[in-house]
Structures are given as structure tokens and as C-alpha cells.
């Protein structure tokens, strides 16, 4: 089935074979954290084959509030690399990889899990690997294996490193395409949804000219359930106009839930000047603080 439907990472369901494209590591880790979180919350077996390696992968998920280590200790979660699973040395075999996937489905059923979620960072395919021409065959095989099961696979492709031809060829085998909801993106500023913890992420420099995009992002963040994180850690500059927009939103929400503002000390000073430092319901977290 062709990927003809864009979806939020939180909308994926059983037997989805989704294609996630990401532009930076933060986006990959954020979307993966949401995929893992929702899987663990549903009681599913969750696996992540990460290019970063098990240690950094677990650290990134943990940093986003996912209780990875207890889940790993309980056998509900694994974090591994692709070697020995999708790859044997520098050799890729679609048949062997599909065999590995089939065994994971069977194993999770035998262990009594109601379903399985596997996220696979496909960056290994960028390295010199024998048999890489069989990648489309592997993607097609995943769709066949997943049909009628309670398993889902999230294939993760770096949109800047994979060439458009490869992305187009593998996209056809996925049921869904997934990317972070983006409100604004240019070389100076990026505003996108953050999924784990829920909120928005603002990177670069922002001023009054981004009013419309910021207003939309804040409005959608307000509609999220529970506490909201406004991740401005990668934000190097915010002007008075946008500082007031963020502060007014935080003040509005602070009576009913907690708003967490993460930012550099210089940016935090601007929010503190507007009285957010000691406001109940607002946590102004300067980067480097715990």
C-alpha cells in the first residue's frame, strides 16, 4: 500500500508500516520517544534499532521522560543497533532481515504481549553495505509480514542524507508518512511540535515577523492535554513581542496546569523580567539546571 496519508506520530495504530522522515537528531529522538512512550503505555513490546547505539538511545529517551530502564529490566523494551539483526557484518539480506522481524513478532506473542512496536533507524543503509540494493525488497516484505498482525514498524529516514530517489522508492511501501508538525521553518527559525514531553520546540532566532506561526503553535499547544513544555533550549534570540506572546500563554495556562519553559539564561532573563520566575504553575528552567 502506498504512503498516501500523513499522520502524527501519536496516531499510529496496529499493523501500520510508517515512514518517518526527520531533519535533525532532536526531531528523531523526540518522535521516537513518543512512539516508544505510547507503545509502553499500551503494554506492547517495544524495540528500537538505533544508529546512535544502545547507550545514547536510552539516554535520549530517558531525558524525554520515558521510563526506559524499568521497561528494559522487565523485558518490555529493547534498544539495540542493527548489527546482528538487520545486518550481518557489512552484509544486508532482505530475506534474513525479514526472518529476524518474523521471529520478533512470534517471540512477542509467545511472551504474552498484546502487540509489538519496532522503530528502525535506517541510517545504516547510508554506509557501504553489500546488498543494499535489496532495501526496497525489505520494505515491501515488512508490509507483508505486518498484514493482519498487532505489530507496527516505524522506519526512520534522515531526509537530508537519503537522496530523494531512494526516499521516493521506499515511501511507496509504507502505509503512513510521519514527520514533526512544523509551523515555521527557514534557515533562521524553526517552530515545530514536540511530542515527548508534549509541547512545542523553537530553535534559532524569533522576532515579531513570526507572529502568525508562533500564535498557531501556541494555540495548538494549549489544546494538548496535561502539562506543556515550551522547549526553547535551542533558541538564541527572542524579541520583546514574542516574549510577551509566550509569557501571556504561560500565564493564561498556569492556573490550571504546569507550563515548563526551557531556555538559555539570556532568554530566561526576559521571561523573568515579565514576572514568570516566581509564578505558580510556571517552571522557568534555565539550561543546565535540573
Amino acid at each position: 500500500m502506498a504512503a498516501d496519508a500523513s499522520a502524527q506520530i501519536t496516531e499510529l495504530t496496529m499493523d501500520d508500516h510508517a515512514c518517518l522522515t526527520f531533519g535533525e537528531a532532536e526531531e528523531l529522538f523526540d518522535l521516537t520517544a513518543a512512539f516508544v512512550r505510547d507503545g509502553l503505555d499500551a503494554g506492547l513490546k517495544v524495540m528500537w534499532l538505533s544508529d546512535a547505539g544502545p547507550g545514547p538511545a536510552v539516554a535520549e529517551l530517558t531525558r524525554r521522560g520515558i521510563a526506559v530502564e524499568p521497561a528494559m529490566a522487565a523485558g518490555q523494551m529493547t534498544a539495540d543497533g542493527c548489527e546482528g539483526r538487520l545486518l550481518a557484518g557489512q552484509v544486508f539480506s532482505a530475506e534474513a532481515a525479514i526472518g529476524w522481524l518474523t521471529r520478533q513478532l512470534a517471540s512477542s506473542c509467545e511472551l504474552g504481549f498484546p502487540g509489538l512496536r519496532i522503530a528502525v533507524d535506517m541510517s545504516w543503509a547510508l554506509r557501504p553495505v553489500t546488498g543494499i540494493e535489496h532495501l526496497p525488497e525489505f520494505e515491501e516484505g515488512i508490509a507483508t509480514v505486518l498484514a493482519g498482525t498487532t505489530a507496527s514498524v516505524l522506519c526512520q529516514y534522515d531526509r537530508d542524507r537519503f537522496d530523494p530517489v531512494t526516499l521516493a522508492s521506499v515511501a511507496a511501501f509504507h502505509t503512513r508518512s510521519v514527520a514533526a508538525a512544523t509551523y515555521h521553518a527557514d534557515p533562521v527559525l524553526r517552530i515545530c511540535r514536540q511530542y515527548a514531553p508534549p509541547g512545542i520546540r523553537i530553535a534559532g532566532e524569533i522576532d515579531y515577523q513570526a507572529e502568525e506561526a508562533l500564535a498557531l503553535a501556541l494555540a495548538e499547544a494549549v489544546r494538548l492535554d496535561g502539562d506543556i513544555t515550551l522547549n526553547m533550549a535551542p533558541l538564541a534570540f527572542i524579541d520583546g513581542f514574542c516574549t510577551r506572546m509566550v509569557a501571556d500563554t504561560a500565564k493564561m495556562l498556569s492556573s490550571s496546569r504546569t507550563v515548563i519553559l526551557q531556555c538559555q539564561p539570556e532568554v530566561a532573563a526576559g521571561f523573568a523580567r515579565l514576572g514568570l520566575g516566581g509564578l505558580s504553575g510556571v517552571r522557568l528552567v534555565t539550561i543546565g539546571e535540573q
Binding site: E205, Q209, A247, G270, R273
Partner: protein, 142 residues
Amino acid sequence: MSSDPGLSPAPPGAGTAVLEQAFDRDSLYALRAAVAAHAAAAGLPRQQVYDVVTAAHELAANAVRHGAGHGQLRLWADGQLLHCQVSDDGQDGQDAPGPGVAWSREHGHGLWIIDQVADHVTLDHDNGGTTVIITFTISRPS
């Protein structure tokens, strides 16, 4: 904001000019980058560099939004002081509300922020336009 006459800016040209740059709506990012680089080179610590950039941006954005739509920024050092002058030559911006509104010190708005971060502010407004000079006492690391 301080009214200490000792902080009154020396006339442009009295100190060492470190930056002269024109700006408009499309070049505010480049202006901020230039101000940050030159303020850091003048020896200001990180927080004060950010404060100078903030103040310069608010003045320039005010000129773009409520003044002529473009203007000129000049940055110069004079001993332990760093001065930043922003001038524009008119009130014909698209949403120009008149000088009283554009230069109000409403809480959280441009001039209010500048009052919070700068050590001295002078504002000169006439039919020829608006010129604002803000002054920072350079905080040297001890």
C-alpha cells in the same frame, strides 16, 4: 534607566566606531548578528552582549514598524561605555501610529525593555525622524 550625566553618550565620532549598518525589515537578523559580534569584540560578557542585541533589535524593529520602515544603526565604544544609536528619518511606516504610541514605555514593550537593560537612554524625536542613543557600562569580568 539611569539619569547619571556621566553616562550621557559622547557625540558620535568621539569614541571608536565599531559598527555602522543600515537596516530594514528583511535585515534585522543580519543586524542582530553584527551587533552581537561587535559587542562581544568590545569586551562585553555574554549576558550584556545579549542585552545590547535585544535593545538594538527593539529600536530597529520600532523604526521598521512604526517609523520610516528602515534606518541606520551605529555602535561605538568610549572608554568603559558602549553606545548604540538607532535613527530613522520619518513616520511613513505602514502602520505608523504616531510618535506617542510608538515610543511609549508600556510594560513589556520595546522601550520598557530597553530601560531594563541599558544604563542610559536618550530619545530625540522631531519632524526629521527619531534618534535614540542607548548606553551600556561595559561589565568587565573581575
